[in-house]
Amino acid sequence: METAALKMERISKHFPGVKALDQVSIEVKKGEILALLGENGAGKSTLMKVLAGVHQPDSGEIYVNGKKVVIDGPRASQELGISIIYQEFNLIPHLSVAENIFLGREPRKIKGVIDWKTLDQQAAAIMNRVGLKHLSPKALIRDLTIPEQQLVEIAKAISYASQILIMDEPTAVLNGEDASHLLEIMLDLKQQGMSIIFITHRLEEVEQIADRIAVLRDGTYIGSAKIGDVSREQMVSMMVGRDITDLYPTRNQKIGKPVLRVENLSLKNRLHDINLTVHEGEILGIGGLMGSGSGVLAKALFGLYPHLQGKIMIGEKSRITSPRDAIDAGIALVTDDRKGEGLVLMMSVFENLLLPSYRRISSMGTLLEKSKQTGIVEKWISDLKIKVHDPAVAVGTLSGGNQQKVVLGKWLQMNPRVLILNEPTRGIDVGAKAEIYQLMKSLTEEGIAIIMISSEMPELLGMSHRILVMHEGRVTGEMPIEEATQEKIFLYATGGVRK
């Protein structure tokens, strides 16, 4: 049998109070793409951190090319030819692409003096290989788009002559087009003999490029299978340990009167003449590629752009010019940037949940007594099934799915009439996704109107009653769910047809 490029055997790792990994064994062959699947908190990240040398396993063995190795730090990991691309990029914004690729290993003329010419040449050669031909090695990282920055990370990995590349949800931050470009590059690297461990929640990507899957659940190894031998449903049930036959619940049937109407809404250079209506109990899906303006629309409806033209009508209000207006009118916005805009990561779950309602539950400037606050917090933690052993822990320590539930809870206690969800399930595992979809359904049954902005086609098609498609700041198409297809949405989203 061929020796595996990387083999981890019976790896265990305990943290105080938790068994993060229990006798996990995985292997990846040379030139193979292994998709590592599992819900958030299944132990994928811990396993990868063991490979990165960040954590030392309590027991178990690691082999690289058949040779037993000890990875006692990031350096050791690098020297073994292992590179890891984390979800948060490790790039330096004000340095050039070339400098970032060779950071710490710049070619020098004499001791300490950088040889810029060689540096740029070597960087350009590597940039060609990852599809960054169009950029100058001198370009600054801060001027690059997110997908480009990610390719710089890959270029960095190549520059270390890495044989094993680990990518932690690399496509989570990318739109469809950029994601498929990245997948092509991954296939390319595989052809060149690189082994890739690919962590993702997008099963269609797994089917597209992976050779094999390995599944973790609650820190234990569940199994491995060749792509093609397992269906998507089987992958999901391996991950969650139960069958999720229908990810999307049936739609709420009781649609009421219009709650929010938008007329001729424009924002200089960003939005053009937007008209839309959303009804009680309805989910209005808004689709579009990155830069379509759907995110801007969400923020506009929430009053973040005071210089809007046109009308936003909700109840008696016909103008929304600040978030405070929006909140008072019953609009809530769950942003797509959970960490940046949705939560105060260092503060506790408790405080995050109460943040928007301090204004409401306080009287004459004094806060309500602690017990009432605790009551509210406990209600939401149990209603939303937020997995947290103590509301006093910092929200940043929770998994993505649970963080998203905190953001939702934060807004739901304000009794919104219109809930705007921007990418509600981005970077969230299947189990938590299903829970959020269920929650959306029960909210619509209570008569709340939901505007859901999503770049995931299945989600749009599975949840919406009606779909609007945007392109370059305009609404280019609108269709009831019965008439919606992937092809149609894509056509409108690329500006193929104009309404």
Partner: protein
């Protein structure tokens, strides 16, 4: 055709904005010079300009070190006190008949030492630089008072006088020292791995560490250089006055920080450079000079200076926004 023409107009506008943005500090500087020469006839004379540059050199030398510290997202409040103490050491040793070279090296080592102590507290014990250097600022001032007993130390050493008062090719020596320092640091920041690591650490410390950069060593070195330059400034200043004042350098840390900020270096670290700082220091110096030439009372001068700092930072922001729009 028309579209192309339109596009080129747009491109030009963008290119122009880019240039304006890149040289914004210089533009503010030139505008200030123009205003100054209109406000006072005495401003645009060789003598006056050399005078301004010589006065600025004391702050500018310290601001150079401060730039490095701010680039790694730190701050050094101790520069003024370290300057006073190393000046006193130089003066004291010269009075005690030590050779000039020994006295100067001793003063520089004292500055370097304080800087390294700052750096070690920041890196090894993880104390924020604001707090570390605040403490060292108070300690070094106290040590100066103890050492001088609160009285100025008068020096009478003829070759020493040359450093602060001599000229070479008609240009005062302090100006040459300042220019040489800035030119070397400019080169070091651009072309050496040390220089690039300073930017890297300020931009993303964790990523730098993961790239195998000796983050702590570089940080200690940066604080060390800042201390060393405080001592260099002290030597020039003491020589200029031919006496070491126990109160020397009081408040100079704020002038230095102001010069760095006006020069466009970000307090968040990783962005900016030494050239901006020199212009920033000159802007502050010219402001003092013009207000003096116009016989504005020193009480008002400080108000005007504060307003100018705010205006400069505001202008900076506006330019930055133009670039995005």
């Amino acid at each position: 055709m028309r579209q192309e023409a339109l596009q080129s107009v747009v491109m030009n506008r963008e290119a122009r904005l880019h240039l304006v943005n890149k040289y914004r500090v210089l533009i503010i500087f030139i505008a200030l010079c123009a205003a100054a020469s209109m406000l006072s006839d005495a401003f645009l004379t060789v003598n006056n300009l050399l005078n301004v540059a010589r006065q600025v050199s004391i702050t500018a030398i310290i601001a150079a070190g401060m730039t490095l510290v701010i680039l790694i997202a730190g701050i050094d409040l101790s520069v003024g006190s370290v300057m006073a103490f190393s000046g006193a050491i130089a003066a004291g040793m010269l009075t005690a008949q030590w050779p000039l070279g020994v006295a100067l090296i001793a003063a520089l080592l004292v500055g370097l030492g304080f800087g390294i102590i700052n750096g070690l507290f920041v890196t090894r014990w993880g104390i924020p630089s604001f707090i570390t250097t605040l403490a060292v600022m108070v300690i070094a001032r106290g040590m100066t008072l103890v050492y001088t007993q609160g009285y100025p130390l008068v020096v009478s050493h003829e070759s020493f006088r040359y450093i602060g008062n001599g000229k070479m090719l008609g240009i005062p020596l302090p100006i040459l020292i300042m220019l040489f320092l800035y030119a070397s640091l400019y080169w070091v920041l651009r072309n050496t791995s040390f220089g690039r690591y300073v930017y890297a650490i300020g931009g993303n410390e964790e990523a730098s560490r993961l790239s195998g950069i000796p983050v702590n060593t570089i940080k200690v070195a940066v604080f060390g250089i800042c201390g060393l330059l405080s001592a260099l400034s002290a030597i020039v200043y003491t020589s200029r006055l031919m006496s070491a004042q126990p109160t020397a350098g009081t408040g100079i840390e704020l002038d230095a920080i102001a010069a760095v900020i006006i020069g466009g270096t970000s307090l968040a670290g990783g962005k900016g450079g030494i050239a901006g700082t020199l212009i920033g220091a000159l802007i502050m110096g010219i402001l003092d000079n013009v207000l003096n030439l116009m016989n504005v009372s020193p009480f008002y001068q400080s108000i005007v200076k504060g307003l100018v700092i705010l205006a400069a930072v505001l202008a900076d922001r506006t330019f930055a926004k133009l670039k995005i729009a």
